[in-house]
Symmetry: C2
Subunit: 151 residues, 2 copies
DNA sequence: TATGCACCCTGTAGCCACTACAGGGTCAAG
DNA sequence: CTTGACCCTGTAGTGGCTACAGGGTGCATA
């Protein structure tokens, strides 16, 4: 199949597929006479693996390790479990951190009584960390980034 | 005060302070005879505002709007509340999304019984989305990024 | 045969919010 | 007079894509 079909089959942007090839996450496929990439089922399932892992929040480097493991069926499987477990712990830590943030934000919003900004409690609270009750630090600076849209 | 002192006073990397100046988030300060930046209290509190807002996950553009509001004490304060409320909703959405992820990951990890990777349930689950019970999509691809370290 | 259109190619630059580093200047203490 | 802490500018790198310029290919229709 050509790249457009693979893109539709896996819900992956064409540019992303070429990007994965460039960084060595997907093997370079054969080419047609017209120099078009030509993929088979092995490519499709490898890409599905990558996309699914990305959706679960694994980094490219983690996925590289996981792919190495699955490429060598004789290797010990404990490593895959360790990667996944470490990642789960990161996700849990992130949730806890965001929960602190949410509580702090909830305390801040809704304090506005519609005056002018000189009297604004929201702006005041942002300017003065001492108003805070928890150590919400290292926030989700990238909240809006890196999110794949549903396809 | 010089940039190093401002950095210590606000827990902000020196390079980050210069970056904020470059993008127009902080006003350019006066210079000493040796061309060193020289900050006053107004700079310090503006930078604290920025850092606190960043810690709460506001984007640079949101912070720009919030600073505009606080620079003009006569303006209506509702806008600040709207920005903060919208942000709170984003944080809540992110928490919900991460909770789905966590559940899915928890289902995947721990299935490993220590065999070889050919039989690995973890790798199998990553390769096949049909094993999943929820639509964990648009995951936290940037989980490890953009996080300020405590200082 | 010409033309349009969908699809493909490479290569490069941009996104966010920093962070790192090269290569230099300034200044006080020992 | 050297050491070391601090400061300066400018540029490039991070992750994981995404967008676009400028071109080629292949098939159906007028």
């Amino acid at each position: 199949m050509k790249i457009g079909e693979l893109s539709r089959a896996t819900g992956t942007n064409i540019e992303t597929i070429r990007y994965y090839e460039r960084i060595g996450l997907l093997p370079a496929p054969d080419r047609t006479a017209a120099n078009y990439r030509s993929y088979g089922d092995a490519h499709r399932s490898r890409l599905s693996f990558v996309r699914h892992s990305r959706d679960l929040g694994f980094t490219i480097e983690e996925i590289r390790s996981l792919l190495d493991l699955s490429d060598d069926p004789a290797r010990d499987c404990g490593e895959a479990d360790r990667i996944a477990t470490a990642h789960l712990e990161q996700v849990e830590a992130k949730i806890a951190q965001l929960a602190l943030l949410r509580d702090e934000l909830a305390r801040i919003v809704g304090r506005c009584r519609g005056g002018v900004s000189a009297d604004c409690r929201v702006i005041e609270a942002l300017g003065d960390h001492r108003h805070c009750e928890s150590a919400h630090q290292g926030g989700p600076a990238t909240l809006r980034q890196g999110q794949r849209q549903p396809t």
